[in-house]
Amino acid sequence: MPRAPRKAYWALATILAVVAAPPAYPESLPPPAGRVILTVSGALSRTNDEAGARFDRAMLEALPQHTLLTETPWTDGITRFEGPLARNVLAAVGASGESVRASAINDYAVNIPLADFEQYDVIVALTRDGAPMRVRDKGPLWIIYPWSDHPQLRSEVHHSRSIWQLKALHVE
């Protein structure tokens, strides 16, 4: 599981900041070079496969990274999660719809309204406390809500949307 040097996405973040405009995505996503860890399907405008958009770790790390410091019901104390904003992942595939059905390696699935991603800085976490997450650590991907910044999110509904061991998103 190669990990892009931190410098790279810092450079990317700098470029994005300079351009100060939504990233202009090419018509089609480049195909994944490594092992696919996330598959996005449904109403998409940009894909790289028949099934939809397939992402390896590097593709997700190439997106602007966001850091969240928060408590969760499943961890002790403040935990630092890093990863692309969920809305940016969906933007990268040109998703359009009302909600997304997220499913996990452990067969758990939950519907998330896209409004959640617009309203809050929800991330698709790639690392926990600076380390990539294995399946044993509820990885490789985990949808994290900013609970510490928004106490109103501390509800069972939002807890249930915080899906770990994420593997697929279906835009509806």
């Binding site: 499943w74 452990n106 509820k138 069972e156 807890h159 249930s160 061991q165």
Partner: protein, 619 residues
């Protein structure tokens, strides 16, 4: 004031009840919500957590089973299932949710056993697809053994949820009970508050009535007290004024004050102390200055009492005694003056002083009299002693002396023809015997006070005849020139003795004086002085020394070689027996002069007083 307060209290009470109701509603709904949330979270998390546990275990078991049976085994998927179950076990040991799960009975042991199993067969799973079927089969067996335990956990979660719900209900009931108690308490509180308020209101009303009554009583008392005070002041025996020290004017004055100053009360109130005082007080100080001083002392808290000279409107000065005292008055400097007219007292004091002086004089006079009496007594005692002695001695001496006298006369007759010197000797004996007899006579005369045989005589004629009969030494000239023209009531024989003694005394004092030269004169004069006759016997001798003047009339006091010192005392005795007085004139140059004062004969008083110049009246 009162109804507003009550309204306010009721409003506060209403607001309190409203707030309590809202609070109670909040508490109830909050409790319900909390109960609901606790319940739902428990269900959605713990029960669901247990279910997930079961599901994930089943998925792993199924995947492994594929490897055992060889029906489409997917090694990668199996490893994923293994990792998923591993992560589930981990999440039971981390976070609040995991801890809630572990509290289920037997959960900790089950989780620990499951973790041990996973660790035991981790190498087997990682070796897939090359792991032996036996090994995988053993793993499947171990996992299947965990399944009933996880089912139990799920059931326990459900059961504990029920327990929890029951506890929740109990808590709710307790909460409701507590709330009821709270409400009841508040109700009681509110009721008592209202009751208290009503009571207070009643009390305030009663208090108000009592207060009004007290005020009325006090007002009446005050009015009475003021009346009493006015009566006291108005009819006080002294003059009373109240002075406003800042304005320098009287603001109160009673009738006596007006009477004292001689003006109306209204007029007094237009004036100050200076208007009724002379410019200067008897001690010479300015009245204005003194007033300021005394008033300042009174304002400082002293009670000055002093004498003061007032001056009424007609200029009459009245000695007074004034007492000043500060009057309590907020913001004003008031001094009460109580003025007493002490002119009567002053007069009495003067009279008393005069009486005292007179009394002192009287005492002095009496003392003098007493001293004289004492002296007389002393003399009388002395005379009594002399008298006793001379009475005996003289009597015993007289007979022998008479014999000697007769014998010497006979001797002179018989031998005188033969020897003329015998006659001279006999005569000397006779003379001396006579002298002795004379002394004895003197002593007897002095000690035996005899009654006077008074006769009315023409004093001047009597004096001339008497003096002419008295023998004096040849060297002495007697010049008798009486011009009193008075008639007196005297014992001529006794008074003759006075003249003899005075002339003898004068003559002897001149002759015996050392170095006596020149003419030796005795001047005798007599004149009337008022109701008395003044007889003066003066000599030209050396006079009497100052220290001896006091004692010349004392008996047995003599400076002479002869005589027993009874001459002058006898003079005094006889003169005093006549009601007269004898004195020694104050020394003036040479000589001594004795003056005898005698009373004029009563019938002669009136005509004689007219001619007081004396000496011109013909005898």
């Amino acid at each position: 004031m009162k109804p507003r307060f009550i309204r306010l209290a009721y409003a506060a009470l209403g607001a309190g009840i409203l707030i309590s109701a809202v609070g109670v509603y909040g508490v109830v709904s909050g409790m319900r919500e909390a109960a609901y949330r606790a319940q739902s979270e428990f269900r959605d998390n713990i029960v669901w957590f247990a279910a997930q546990f079961n599901g994930e275990l089943a998925a792993l078991t199924d995947a492994l089973h594929d490897h055992v049976t060889g029906v489409q085994p997917d090694s990668q998927a199996t490893v994923e299932r293994f990792d998923v179950f591993w992560s589930r076990l981990d999440s039971a040991r981390e976070g609040a949710l995991g801890r809630s799960f572990l509290r289920l009975p037997g959960a900790a042991e089950t989780v620990a056993d499951a973790a041990a199993t996973l660790r035991e067969f981790e190498s087997t799973v990682l070796a897939l697809p090359n792991a032996t079927s036996d090994e995988v089969g053993r793993f499947v067996g171990a996992l299947r053994a965990l399944k009933p335990r996880l089912n139990e956990l799920t059931l326990a979660a459900l059961a504990s949820r029920n327990v929890d719900v029951a506890a929740e209900h109990r808590a709710q009931r307790e909460g409701a009970t507590r709330l009821t108690v709270l409400l009841l308490g508040m109700l009681v509180l509110g009721t008592s508050l209202v009751a208290l308020l009503l009571l207070e209101r009643a009390k305030v009303a009663a208090l108000g009535r009592t207060l009004a009554m007290r005020v009325a009583e006090r007002t009446a008392d005050l009015a009475e007290s003021e009346d009493r005070y006015r009566t006291l002041v108005t009819h006080a025996p002294e003059a009373i004024v109240v002075l406003d020290a800042e304005q320098g004017k009287f603001i109160e004055a009673n009738e006596n004050a007006a009477r004292l100053f001689g003006v109306s009360r209204e007029r007094v109130l237009e004036c100050g102390p200076g208007d009724f005082s002379p410019p200067l007080q008897p001690d010479g100080r300015a009245s204005a200055e003194l007033v300021a001083e005394r008033v300042a002392a009174a304002l400082a808290g002293e009670v000055p009492i002093f004498e003061w000279l007032h001056q009424n409107v007609s200029g009459e000065r009245i000695p007074c005694e004034i007492r000043l005292v500060r009057l309590p008055a907020a913001g004003r400097s008031l001094v009460r003056g109580s003025i007493t007219d002490i002119s009567v007292r002053k007069r009495h004091e003067l009279e008393l002083a005069r009486h005292r002086e007179r009394l002192e004089e009287l005492v002095e006079e009496r003392t003098r009299e007493l001293e004289t009496a004492q002296r007389d007594l002393l003399r009388a005692e002395r005379l009594a002693a002399i008298g006793q002695l001379t009475g005996t001695v003289s009597h015993e001496l007289r007979n022998p002396l008479a014999t000697i006298h007769t014998s010497s006369v006979v001797l002179a007759k018989r031998l005188g023809d033969q020897d003329p010197s015998v006659v001279r000797i006999a005569e000397r004996i006779t003379r001396n015997v006579e002298r002795c007899v004379g002394i004895i006579q003197d002593l007897l005369d002095y000690t035996r006070v005899r009654d006077l045989e008074l006769r009315r005589v023409d004093f001047d004629a009597w004096l001339r005849a008497t003096v002419a009969d008295i023998e004096v030494p040849d060297a002495v000239t007697v010049n008798c020139d009486p011009r009193s023209g008075a008639r007196v009531l005297i014992d001529p024989e006794r008074l003759r003795q006075v003249m003899v003694n005075l002339i003898d005394n004068a003559a002897l004092s001149m002759i015996e004086a050392p170095g006596a030269e020149g003419p030796l004169r005795i001047d005798i004069t007599a004149a009337t002085d008022g109701e008395r006759l003044r007889l003066r016997v003066a000599d030209s001798g050396p006079g009497i020394a100052e220290e001896r003047r006091e004692s010349v009339f004392e008996p047995l006091y003599s400076t002479r070689a002869f005589g027993v010192g009874l001459g002058l005392p006898l003079v005094r005795q006889i003169v005093e027996q006549h009601g007269g007085r004898v004195e020694l004139e104050p020394a003036a140059g040479h000589g001594a002069a004795f003056v005898v004062w005698l009373a004029l004969a009563p019938a002669e008083v009136a005509p004689q007083t007219a001619s007081r110049s004396g000496g011109t009246t013909p005898a």
